[in-house]
């Protein structure tokens, strides 16, 4: 590890010398001090810091070339989720939690915890009503979102950015190579990474299956006027199985991504504030960051031209 560290320390020193206008000796000394502090993780740390620095600079250099001032104030926060999207998420999350809590005890009815939990919601005659109220919340969230992506400009733009593209497959491949240490460069993501797109479409799939089958189970007697019993049997099986899949995906995958992983623990606050920091923006959505900066630069340049 010492040899690559030397090279990295030199790179860091050079960077410090240039950006902080230090003398070569001062820069080398500070780089050595930093290495001392974070020795075991020095290499990855320097790479990460240099990447962020370079991305910031790339934007600044582009701005400077056009004679504009620096475009991003340090510590700026970027809007990631509008209030409307946050409310959609909140309604869906609340509904799903209630649905899972009143639904899973039915799937695991043989477990000891099933009966107390159903008892908490008023027993076998009342907890189904809670389940249906929550289901109504989920259906409203789903319909709200459909209207949002069709009828609003923000919704249409966001939806188009969520459509899976060949680039997502390339990104996923590069991300895995990065995880396995085959490349030092993480893929540069735009507004939505392949992980976020997967989450979004997984919810689509889940909503279609759960609302479709759930409606059939809710209004069994109405549906049985028109369809044979085996159709409702499929609905029952699909509802039960997809419920488990969705619950596991949320508890394992979604909770890891937004709560448990070391970069976000204990919680990514974006679902409340709607904002992410510049640092997160540069690290996780560099293409979007660059595009925003480019737009701002163009705008200030245009304003400058007009005035």
């Amino acid at each position: 590890m010492s040899e690559p560290n030397d090279a990295l320390r030199d790179a860091l020193a050079a960077e410090l010398e240039r950006t902080h206008r230090l003398s070569t000796e001062e820069a080398a000394e500070r780089a050595a001090r930093m290495e001392e502090r974070v020795r075991p993780r020095f290499a990855t740390w320097v790479r990460r810091e240099l990447t962020i620095q370079r991305r910031k600079e790339k934007v600044a250099v582009a701005a400077e070339a056009h004679g504009a001032a620096a475009v991003a104030a340090t510590g700026e926060e970027f809007v990631r989720l509008s209030l409307e999207l946050r409310l959609q998420h909140a309604l869906m999350a609340l509904s799903v939690i209630l649905l899972v809590v009143t639904g899973l005890p039915l799937k695991f009815h043989e477990s000891g915890w099933a009966k107390p939990i159903i008892g908490l919601f008023g027993g076998p005659d009342f907890s189904p009503i809670v389940h249906r109220i929550a289901a109504t919340g989920l259906i409203i969230a789903g319909m709200w979102h459909l209207v949002f992506i069709v009828a609003t400009r923000e919704g249409r733009r966001t939806f188009l950015q969520l459509i899976p593209m060949p680039q997502d497959a390339r990104d996923a491949w590069q991300q895995i190579k990065y995880y396995l240490g085959r490349t030092g460069d993480r893929p540069k993501y735009d507004r939505f990474s392949y992980v976020e797109k997967f989450d979004y479409w997984a919810v689509y799939w889940g909503m279609v299956i759960m609302i479709g089958s759930g409606t059939m189970l809710w209004f069994t007697e109405f549906f049985l006027r028109h369809v044979p019993k085996w159709v409702t049997d499929i609905a029952k099986e699909a509802h039960s199985d997809e419920a488990l899949l969705a619950t596991l995906a949320i508890v394992i995958w979604h909770f890891y991504n937004v709560h448990l992983n070391p970069h976000k623990f204990p919680m990514n606050r974006t679902f409340i504030t709607g904002k992410i920091s510049e640092r997160e923006m540069i690290e996780e959505h560099p293409l979007e960051y660059e595009r925003i900066m480019e737009e701002r630069r163009r705008k200030t340049a245009d304003d400058g031209g007009e005035s």
Binding site: M34, T44, E221, L224, K229, D233, L245, A249
Partner: protein, 368 residues
């Protein structure tokens, strides 16, 4: 039991017999033959035409078959050992029914078998009604036989498995008729198949409860467990051409889950299959024959207005079994989808976690 004894021509002879004092139970009474005292009783009671007219005008036969007395497990006892309040002739009015607990109690000196059954009986629906004064409710002798008491293993015993339906049917006439026509009744009574349930296999014996009481084996909350004593075993079901386990599949259905969680409204075994007229679905008279499904599902309080669509599909579906058709494939699809998705996601999580821990989150911000 207020009745007026009409004393016939036997009065004189009986009066002579009453001069003899009643003997205490003789521990070593001769097993064969009829004792002297019994012979005295049989002077009147041994005649088939010996009857009395009760106060309500009905004719009560008073004939006792000596052959039965000799075959009974009680053959060695005297009549008055049980009929203890018969002390003179003509007998006083209002004789009490025989109380079996005179001998059948714990630590009795004559070696009469005893167990907790007597206690169980006093808590049972029969015992409680009897203690409350309902003389129609049965006492021991009403089921076990009065003068011909035999061990339950004896095919001639009133409480022998194959004869229990007839014994219960003496009071529960309609139910006996239904049971005889059911698959269970036909198997036990017509075919002699002792695997088939008799009344007591579902309802219990001495501890029998009302069907709606929570302690009853046939109450809504317990019936599935009771049926599972036989139908819970696939080895059993397969022998009787039942292709899926009806108990576990019920327990996994919405009906079964709600039943297990304590719902009283929901269908359980007997709601669809009936209690005493259980028949295989192929039988046109069966409540679960496809032609009768709409009526069965459409019972008041259930799926009123049920139509033929209710019969189009399988019942007692086991998603694990290929015999479930499309449901098997739907379940398999979701199983594969769930396992593959979660394996992929967990691998992704682990790769991400390992990488982030190696990079060191704290170190990432050390320079800031």
């Amino acid at each position: 039991m207020r009745c007026t004894a009409v004393v016939a021509a036997f009065l004189a002879a009986a009066a002579a017999a009453a001069q003899q004092p009643a003997a205490a139970p003789a521990a070593a009474a001769p097993a064969a033959g009829t004792s002297a005292i019994a012979r005295q009783c049989l002077i009147c009671h041994g005649r088939p035409e010996f009857k009395k007219v009760a106060s309500d005008g009905s004719v009560v036969p008073l004939f006792i078959d000596e052959g039965e007395l000799k075959r009974s497990v009680h053959a060695r006892w005297q009549c008055v050992d049980c009929h203890a309040d018969v002390t003179k002739i003509p007998h006083p009015e209002g004789l009490a029914p025989v109380n079996c607990q005179r001998c059948h109690f714990t630590t009795n000196p004559v070696g009469a078998p005893q167990d907790v059954n007597y206690d169980a009986y006093t808590r049972s629906v029969h015992g409680r009604l009897r203690l409350a004064g309902n003389t129609k409710a049965p006492l021991c002798q009403d089921c076990h036989g009065a003068h011909l008491v035999l061990k339950h293993g004896d095919p001639a015993s009133h409480v022998n498995k194959a004869r229990v339906p007839e014994t219960c049917g003496r009071c529960h006439v309609d139910i006996y008729a239904q049971y005889q026509r059911s698959v269970h009744g036909r198997a036990l009574l017509a075919k002699g198949n002792l695997e088939a349930p008799s009344c007591t296999d579902c309802h219990g014996e001495h501890s029998i409860m009302g069907a709606k009481e929570t302690g009853s084996g046939v109450s809504a909350g317990n019936i599935a467990e009771t049926c599972s004593h036989c139908h819970g075993s696939m080895a059993f079901n397969t022998r009787f051409n039942i292709p899926v386990n009806p108990v576990t599949t019920f327990k996994h259905s919405f009906h079964g889950i709600a039943n297990e969680l304590g719902s009283k409204k929901v269908a359980q075994c007997a709601s669809c299959h009936t209690s005493h007229s259980v028949l295989p679905p192929e039988d046109p008279a069966s409540s679960v024959n496809p032609a009768n499904i709409p009526a069965t599902c459409g019972k008041a309080g259930c799926h009123e207005g049920a139509n033929a669509n209710y019969a189009r599909g399988r019942f007692h579906i086991d998603p694990e079994s290929k015999s479930s058709g499309i449901i098997y494939w739907v379940a398999l699809f979701f199983k594969i989808l769930t396992v593959s998705t979660l394996v992929a996601l967990i691998i992704h999580i682990l790769m991400d976690l390992v990488k982030k821990l190696r990079m060191g989150h704290a170190g990432g911000h050390a320079g800031e």
